[in-house]
Assembly symmetry: D2
């Protein structure tokens, strides 16, 4: 990974692009991405890519390709069986030439699941490792950084991808900024991700105080199908809930008033 | 509206809360809202409230209640028949004690539809008027502010609600800030709205440079129903599209790289 | 309502079309609808229309127009304030020439809320009344039919709109069919609605054994806007849940096996 | 596959359960499933499972496990690179003990892509093959059955999974039934799938005239996480479109009237 390290020395701001197809990978490299995070099913937040996709993408680009390892959508509390699936997938992906991994596991209290992480890290061997946005679901971000920096040996987890525990990195930028000292102390690079676009990337990097940014930079591409049956949906729909309303909350109004008073 | 104007003089930051029920209206006032925007169907972005709801909310709170007037979701290009529906609804809502209106109409080119606006403004009579987030769909925001400030008489449209043409007010804050001088020149107050929360309200007010902020400050409230049939959905579902992919875009990656280089 | 009654005598199958705009109302009449259900916000399952919309639609068509009265999406357990809002809206809509109402209210146990219904029925005066799909959320459909047929006087509630307690009328057709005798006993007409299309209308009518069918018969119409800002969403998004998975259920697999064994 | 063939001889109705986790696989077998379709990302309609998941599921159950091979959501028009990814994934999955494959590819005109299919079938070797719901997107279902039955050798594609080109198998049951003779002529088994539940399985089997049914039989399972950050969504949201309305369509109303007249 000499090429990539040299690059980042000359250009202190690293852009990782998350892709789920060969076409996206090629576009990302062409646009100047420094690194790829490879996954499938971005609409679910990303799942482990197959070996077929991994081989094709590793072959198609010259920049480093890290693979996301996440066996399903939903929470990050993984069963024994799911941890073993991730271990097996890591081994299969290493054989495809993947150059790094993006992993994460929590326990039910919202702390890093160190037992699961040790198994995943053992499977990753010497390859670089990023802890993914499971970080945004932890109970205590500072404690999680300490765990990631110390529980597995120094510099074993080099990087954390985070939106600061908020819906987007722009929303969470002040939180990310507040974590900088703790991250540095533990030798961990914070990479800001979640809703990054050409309109907000500069603000996010600056307000979050990070040197790495993660985006998917996607545009909608119309299908090349001439014949279209629009009566069929392959994916599952999302339906508005029948048994919960949204209601204005006096405490939230008060909190917003209070936040505003700080702006005056 | 003396009460309300006095209030805003003492507290330069005004908080408008958007509500679609009596319960939300009461919560909003209790939390310290300075003004309500009343609508129905917030999940569609808000539609015109009924007279029943308007009477109940006007009766339930002492702060000013402005009514949104929007006959359907979707674009802001309204037919003759739809403009007449809005005129009739404005008249009916005035009879309920509504103290201001929130309206907007565009033509197909993305400019303010001055002919429609004149009819709506005539129906509003002397009541204060806000131009709603149709503003975020205009082709040229500066031109739209000039139209709103001059085409209907000075100070006829006092306020514009905007997210700066972006998905949220936090995203659009720099754009809103860039409009401040033009708005001031035309005697128009910019109110920032779209995704405002207790976590970002202060940043938005400060980065957008506004003195009015609009939020809904809602929390999910579980239904009080004991018996629940979960097999039925009353609302329409949203389905992932079958005939458009999302693909990484080299120009977007490049634009994000470029934006980041400005941060260094 | 003589015109409408005569019509249904000559054509035993009545088609009600649910509309939320003047344009839809005109299309529905032109296509041969026998009656309209007027509402706003069909994407939420329909809410009370405004008086502006009611006047315009009553004026635009010659077939009977019934108004849906539902102050918000979600459950059908209404507060005192919400019942009063519905009463006020019924009165305002009667003044617009609306010829019938579509109402419904449940208590927390999933039974018809007779106290609320009495207030709503009083407001409806002599106009015909349909009980809406709140019926699909009741605990016991036969008991609900008995309540609707007896608690408010004979023939006060003439009609029940239902999908048989399932997601669509096609799914619920056997359930609707099983309710026919009870409905007839109480002088109530069952109208099948929920996902009715040109492809399934005949099957639904036949398998449900009904003489009235309800549909919206909508097609997507592209906006006439030339300028489009696609960065902004006015409506709220739906997000996949993070804290619930879907998992195959052994009892459900078994139940499906059992159902299939009946088909052999 | 002797076990499975014997079983289906004794029980003419075969139930295939689609699963995307080891837990679902175990539940499906326990409930009496005759065969599994293994995939990941069911919320996208299913994508190719990883080798880690395939090994775990093959190990966990004794019934046959077929793997879905689909590299991404959206249409079924696959590039050369995507076909090669599927070929590589088929080979990797065969090495995991997968006992059959579920594949499909179309060209832009909506016909079966025979060139792509030949490559995929070659990779499948002697294993049984099902053509998946790409079938529901074809231009001409009878022509597609003929292609599947003749273009690759007799009995090479044994089975087609279909909802009859409609949103659900219940909706499409009459269409499936109308295809039975053509399917039989080409030695292809039709398997009905799409929205199958314990409430409709018997009707679907009977009205579609099929001997195989496909379902996922899932129930929501609450996360075991104690700590929950509800401010973050990992998956992408779906938003209502701003630039298309739904409007009642006179031709559709007329078509529904016409369909109903056939029921009288």
């Amino acid at each position: 990974h000499v090429f990539w390290k040299e690059r980042t020395q000359h250009n202190p701001l690293v852009l990782e692009v998350c892709v789920d197809s060969v076409a996206s990978a090629a576009q990302a490299q062409q646009g100047g991405a420094d690194r790829l995070e490879l996954c499938c099913a971005l609409s679910e937040g990303g799942l482990t890519p197959t070996v077929g996709l991994a081989k094709a993408v590793v072959c198609a680009v010259s920049i480093p390709v890290f693979a996301l390892v996440r066996p399903r959508a939903g929470d990050f509390l993984f069963s024994e069986a799911e941890v073993q699936i991730m271990v097996d997938d890591i081994e299969a992906l290493r054989a495809c030439g993947i150059q790094g991994f993006v992993i994460g596991a929590l326990n039910a209290d919202g702390d890093v699941d160190t037992a699961a992480m040790k198994k995943l890290l053992a499977a990753c061997g010497p390859l670089p490792v990023t802890f993914h946005r499971a970080f945004d679901m932890v109970r205590d971000m500072r404690a999680a950084l300490a765990t990631l920096g110390t529980a597995f040996g120094a510099n074993r987890v080099q990087r954390v991808l985070t939106s600061g525990g908020r819906a987007t990195a722009l929303e969470g930028a002040p939180v990310i900024c507040s974590l900088a000292a703790t991250a540095r102390e533990h030798g961990i690079t914070l990479m800001a991700g979640g809703g990054v676009s050409e309109h907000n990337a500069q603000r996010i990097a600056s307000e979050a105080g990070v040197v790495e940014v993660h985006c998917s930079a996607r545009a909608s591409v119309d299908s090349a199908m001439g014949f279209r049956n629009t009566a069929v949906h392959m994916g599952a729909g999302l339906f508005p809930p029948e048994f919960s309303h949204k209601r204005a909350s006096a405490p939230r109004v008060q909190a917003i008033k209070h936040a505003l008073s700080a702006a005056e």
